[in-house]
Subunit: 205 residues, 4 copies
DNA sequence: AATGAATGAGGATTCATTCAT
DNA sequence: CATGAATGAATCCTCATTCAT
């Protein structure tokens, strides 16, 4: 009873990993099921016991991707540290995640939005509920109460996410920044000034 | 002689427009040559008089896209206004461009990086030379001399570009911001604080 | 020993019923083993303990189908009634059988001939020996001795079978006849005139 | 203008012939598009310029088949001969058609009804309107006015069609009849007695 | 220059069958 | 005996690309 479910779960993970690897390499459409199956160490037909159609890899990846990303944010949020420090750590850990799982980052940033899927709206909602909301809270705290409306915080959270994702995508960013630490520092400071600057302006003025 | 070239140029524009329209709608791979040809009011075979293979649409689009984007930056740069105002206007005009040509924005942001092409490096270089450099100069000026290294300015310019593009991509950004003006204001302020804040910190400290 | 055989027999019947049901619905090729197994309340693999390959369902169905059809003919033949009446009853009971087991009729009429099987000749022979011969005898008796050669009687028997089967197949027959009783009356009279008419012609001439 | 349409028509005929040939040999499902294309002397993809999906071969075949069959009936109907003779000739020509185009006959009798197609109802209607009605008129005339209702004539017409088709299908019919002439004679007499017998009964009674 | 019919490589998907449990 | 996960052969269909007109 336990075993069956476990095996299925294991298979799903195998497929997820393989899909990430191949799709990040070649893009969703050029990644063939045969390749993904081979990368997962499975037969071509076996994939179809776990998904109905190739597109179903998208929600599979999205779900795990959002989980990983959210986990990092929650971790940062639960720290006992000043709000600005928490946000800084959130950005750092997000970048570290994307650097480690750069393939995942590429797929999250590049394909998931583009592949129209019947679950697209669901994915968007889950992304907002599980990820953006948590990050927006950090933004809000770092900015100080009432500096940003709920909507503004969410937009800024999305901007932060996009800037973190840029690292995995952009050849130019890698070249111009010089290294991930430099990018990280630049990004942290840029964001913190953008977030908390308003408060300072108010205080100073 | 002149006429022939003119016709060719006209055809290229037809194809470019059609390609943008169809690709933004369905993504590069699901956009078929037949559809693009039809959208351009041309026969399927005619397309192949202007490109060698489907992928060649990518540099065609990129070139025009980068031109449009660069033109807006140059325009802002040539204004007689304080640096911060120039940067603000650059962002505003960039957003306006993406809002007007939202299809182009979607293709620029979504497909161009993902479709590996023999000219990919060329495109990247042109993007840096014609667009990022100009925007980086505005960033640099707005920040005040010696606040950012060349590389840092370029990275920030790319961050700005990405944040502007987000508008066309993201359902959530549209929903959470409430409207393009609100998004514009938020973005301008966020960027300007991020860019000029460092100077103020230095001055205040 | 006995029990094992009984279970096997029971399984075979389950599979036969399920196969009829699914194949009549979707045709042989679109009927999947998984569906047939499910319809039989068995696991997919279990089917393969009773057949070697999917095509083996055909002789399984044929055998049972021919048995049912033959039984009705034998029954009619054993009645104590005038030859014409016996033939009439044979037709009636045949139609009733096909009406009750309409799925079986559809498979008998539609698929069995079409699916080439190594046992196809065997099935044909059994059909002739167990079914056609019996029905041909009734035809022969109804016609009066020496009216039809053996071959002629067999051909007419097959014509009768085909006309009875039409009922299960044909939307138009159902629509145009108006109901099974009307079809039955029409068919009986048509056949009886066809069969016994020759005798009358001879007598009258 | 003319040429384009002509070529298309020619292609359709090529495909029709090839489809008949291959499908009659192996059945609809085992006949592959590749084989049909090869038999038509065309490339695999070319087929799909004339049909949308494999199933669309069914209405293509049905249409031509019904035309051929109907033509023979109309021909018989237009003869200047006594009604019974016309019906006799109709049967003879129908059998001759099926004997000549035995592959077509097999497909008409075996596959067309079984392959569910979105046009199935249309095919049925056309079959009734173009074929059954014409044959039913001959039946009606041969029987004498008011012997059969419209519906009865239609049913008998369908019975006749099925009995003619049997010739192409049945190994046993071929074996037991001894030859097509014998089958023809047997069938003609059987039908004519079945059709006109009722009248004689009335007259004699 | 413009066209679209012809083509076949390529890929998603299905499903009969096997086999370890 | 019963099962269903695993498998890959087999096949439909799409679509970029060519080429004769």
């Amino acid at each position: 009873m336990r075993r069956a479910s476990d095996t299925a779960q294991k298979r799903r993970r195998q497929i997820f990993e393989a899909a990430i690897a191949v799709i990040s390499e070649k893009g969703f459409h050029k990644a063939t099921i045969r390749e993904i199956a081979a990368a997962a160490g499975l037969g071509k037909g076996t994939i179809y016991q776990y998904i109905d159609k190739k597109e179903d890899l998208i929600p599979l990846i999205a779900e795990v991707g959002i989980s990983l990303m959210s986990a990092k944010i929650s971790e940062a949020a639960s720290l006992d540290a000043p709000p600005e420090e928490k946000l800084r750590i959130a950005i750092k850990s997000q970048l570290a995640l994307f650097d480690e799982h750069s393939r995942l980052a590429e797929v999250m940033g590049g394909e998931i939005e583009r592949i129209k899927h019947e679950d697209s709206e669901l994915i968007t909602r889950v992304f907002e509920e599980r990820y953006l909301n948590a990050l927006a809270s950090l933004v809000s705290e770092a900015a100080g109460r009432e500096r940003f409306s709920k909507g503004e915080s969410l937009v800024i959270a999305e901007l932060i996410a996009v800037m973190c994702l840029l690292w995995s995508h952009s050849v130019l960013a890698k070249k111009n920044a010089g290294g991930i630490e430099a990018y990280e520092t630049l990004l942290e400071e840029f964001v913190l000034r953008g977030v908390s600057g308003r408060r300072k302006e108010a205080e100073n003025g």
